[in-house]
Subunit: 190 residues, 2 copies
């Protein structure tokens, strides 16, 4: 997705150690028009698999998952990291690493909104180690739903997430695939 | 906003003690088409004040703030509850109550994205006690930005938030105003 790659090169910052700062347009401040295009592009890659639900984890997955769901005309569901008082008591829980807290947290979903009737597309902002997405896929499996695809806005291939997620046997797509961030560079695939 | 009120009556659940469960379409599972209409309606109420940024708090404010920003053609910024490693070191911090954790948490924003040049519209899913929105307004003030309005998807008048926020001297709008939830009822204003 060219406009996304151009934006990453213009406004993204390589902080070193594989850390990409994109909080001016993706995960703190968000450019809604770009994110609408991101959602349209992800939807186009997965529409043939007929997902009836887009699934993500709070927090920074919400915007791209929302716009993907909007383009597909289906609901979006975000797993919670703390259980709200309004949530169904029989919540489904999995462990996931916390990027910001540097430890393991839980991600939680209500069985009311994920079940055997669902064909689920997982969408997140980053595909890096794949651990958060793997936890989402385990929630999908626990709910008896069918995972049909995994989409990410930005992939960092050097963190190995695509290989870690191969066991799910579904198409994995990312709109901007970064292969190298050494020495301050941001290098895209192809 | 009639379609929102109808949806609340159809799919919302009064759990008692003033707690409204709307997690099938607003704050766990989200109906993107409804949320797009919500954002359009909020944008229409505040466009004359020319906000150049929509501001919310993670998590459940993100979807309505996003669609409001999309309709206004401006960026959306969400305050974080944990500081990501990518955030600017001089983050601006305020205290806010945590609904899910039952204690005080911090909300955090980068000074890169909020400053004296900004005319800020705060949007959240609920206007209840007003404490989260008040913390957002304090972040706006700390950043030297100008608050121009406060919008909510659903207001519960009996929790007093509108009065608590009056000190900010800006228009406050909610799309569905609930005045009474006693005895299992959901009563809208007018």
């Amino acid at each position: 997705m060219e406009i996304l790659k151009e934006r990453i090169l213009r406004d993204g910052v390589n902080l070193g150690n594989g850390i990409l700062k994109v909080d001016s347009f993706i995960n703190h401040q968000v450019d809604p028009t770009l994110m609408l295009a991101v959602g349209g592009a992800l939807a186009a890659r997965f529409a043939h698999l007929h997902p009836n639900k887009v699934f993500t984890a709070e927090i920074s997955g919400i915007a791209p998952a929302f716009t993907t769901a909007l383009a597909l005309g289906v609901p979006v569901l975000y797993a919670r990291k703390t259980k709200p008082i309004t949530m169904h008591p029989n919540a489904i829980v999995q462990q996931a690493p916390s990027h910001t807290k540097g430890r393991i947290t839980e991600i939680i979903v209500s069985p009311e909104f994920l079940g055997p009737r669902d064909r689920v597309l997982i969408v997140d902002d980053f595909l890096a180690t794949g651990q958060t997405i793997d936890a989402l896929a385990r929630l999908v499996a626990d709910a008896g739903a069918r995972l049909v695809g995994i989409g990410a806005v930005i992939e960092k291939t050097f963190e190995g997430g695509r290989a870690a997620l191969a066991r799910w046997g579904v198409p994995i797509e990312a709109l901007a695939v970064i292969t190298n961030m050494d020495n301050g560079k941001i290098v895209f695939a192809e």
